[in-house]
Symmetry: C2
């Protein structure tokens, strides 16, 4: 069961929980704000739901609450950092802001980081770049949790890939992972006793299925676009680990630590007005988006939406009605805020 | 029916055909080489098969055989060209080589072009960047030929997106379009009387189907990854048309000209050794690829392959055994080479 909790209450409770986990006040405030925003935007699986797991990783020593990005390389428009296993959010926000700054100076900024930890919602950073007025592109290399196409064992990451456009009438943001459905989404359907809308993986006999529980058992989630998703994931891994000069997914697999612990990330910011004036580019974007959104709907009950538009609607609803949160997760976060760090990760 | 034709014979015949279409000898040689290579790599639909359509577009005035890229903007690592509706291949090769040069100077190079025409196989340019030793990223904005998710009419492009990694033991190249299957592929299955291996679109009643003929009738090809593919396509369109300061897909739709006529393209080259030495990056890539390729296969008869590896096997086979080409297309190309420009596009 889910309940709705006000933004400030959720944010303050997460902040207290993170201070108890060892973050200083500023870092706890930054991370709490981002966890809360992700849940407000409807991405609960990578928002508030991840707080208990984050605390568990800090306790295990897989995340260093005081780790900070350290410059290890700089060439013109490009900078490379060592994340020192600091919190994924504080590291990634730092890199995002550096990419924006480098794009101010050079037209394009490329920032890479190695030895960082889970950045939570991938879209956070591309949204932030777009809100600064730049085009944002970001992705990660991470451990294997999805079979390569043609394989029946986890052999490639389910990497997020994000692209964001700073449209003044509403940012347009692609925030996709390489699997058709995340494991978190499978759990949501299984708990609700529902089948997935479309096949999301293979059962243990190797048949494509929409049954979430069967896919959880086989660990054979389906790459988005079948062969396309796992190919894309591998190439993202190769490029990120090279540009960040850090660990590839295979090297993370060897370490056998949790999700995105010690991973590489890439942040690119580009000035959209390199060759066109702002007014005409914004007009071009409005026209393109309006044409996409006014495409004839296949079901008269639903309108066509460009990526990011649904997120903004959910954000508005959450601000007015409170943020949706699973009751059990909410109990856990309150317990951590009250000083009990012995939680079990149920996300 | 298909036959196999030697590389040199196919290349020389295409070259003669393109000279008859109005290209000068150098440009005809360049384009013929690339059409032939694409067919050799197994991408016939965007290789030799496209020669008759290209000739038709030149005859209509949609492609200017003498159009050349003209510099219209330059800012440090970024350059913007007007393609003057020249041949897509000669324009794109020029931009590719400029992006490589800019990456030599700045670590990263960004080249955009507007008012260009179909670049044929998208992977050509990412492969070329990788073969030069750089990481390549490229994509285009183009006219609508795929429904947005939730729509039943063409409302977004089926844009190619390519990423290439310069691994010395074999380039790893993602060359994907945003639909699950290209229209060309549907035709191949229909002519063979076969169903698609996986659903590839909707029939006219709105049901997901694997019947290629039904999808061709409805024009509702399936975006790869369902909602993911059409979202990705729209964002690629918005970014390419802004950075090239050219026409978006919606503006191309208004013009009602053929495929990719007057479109925008983006070429990015990145030095992979910005922060790591060449030997360790190459070793990292080899290890990652070897781990992916040695994943346990779901069918013992097939091995797992990283993207690009299948292409290289097909290339080798074509060089040894001749290039596969549809007999009817081959008759058409020979007719154009003999001076008959009145061909019908059957591709």
């Amino acid at each position: 069961m889910s309940i709705r909790v006000g933004f400030d209450i959720l944010e303050n409770t997460i902040k207290k929980a993170l201070i108890n986990a060892g973050l200083n006040e500023d870092r706890a405030a930054l991370c709490a704000g981002i966890h809360t925003e992700s849940s407000a935007d409807g991405v609960e699986s990578h928002g508030a739901n991840r707080v208990p797991r984050f605390v568990k990783y800090v306790k295990r020593g897989w995340v260093n609450p005081n780790g900070e990005p350290e410059l290890v390389g700089k060439k013109g428009l490009a900078e490379n950092y060592d994340g020192n296993l600091g919190p994924g959010i504080t590291n990634a926000i730092f890199c995002t802001d550096r990419a924006i700054k480098l794009a101010d100076e050079h037209g394009i900024g490329l920032v890479t980081i190695k030895n960082t930890t889970h950045w939570m919602r991938g879209g956070t950073y591309a949204w932030r770049i777009a809100e600064s007025g730049k085009i944002g592109i970001s992705w990660i290399a991470t451990e294997s949790c999805m079979p390569m196409w043609g394989s029946d064992e986890p052999s490639v990451g389910n990497n997020p890939f994000c692209m964001a456009v700073p449209r003044e009438n509403g940012e347009i943001v692609l925030d996709m992972a390489m699997s058709q459905y995340a494991y978190g989404k499978l759990g949501v359907y299984r708990l609700a006793g529902k089948q997935l809308p479309y096949p999301g993986g293979f059962d243990e006999a190797g048949n494509l299925t929409s049954d979430p529980g069967e896919i959880e058992k086989s660990r054979r989630i389906l790459p988005a676009g079948y062969w396309k998703g796992s190919s894309f994931a591998l190439v993202l891994d190769l490029i990120a680990s090279a540009l960040a000069n850090g660990k590839s997914g295979a090297e993370l697999d060897d370490e056998k630590k949790g999700s995105c612990t010690g991973c590489c990330q890439v942040f690119i910011a580009i000035d959209p007005y390199l060759f066109g004036d702002k007014e005409s580019i914004q007009r071009k974007w409005d026209y393109r988006v309006q044409r996409a959104d006014s495409a004839h709907p296949s079901n008269i009950k639903f309108s066509v939406k460009s990526p990011g538009e649904g997120t903004m609607e959910r954000r508005k609803y959450s601000m007015e009605n409170g943020i949706n949160i699973d009751e059990k997760i909410w109990v856990q976060i309150k317990a951590i805020a009250d000083g009990d760090l012995n939680i079990v990760d149920i996300s």
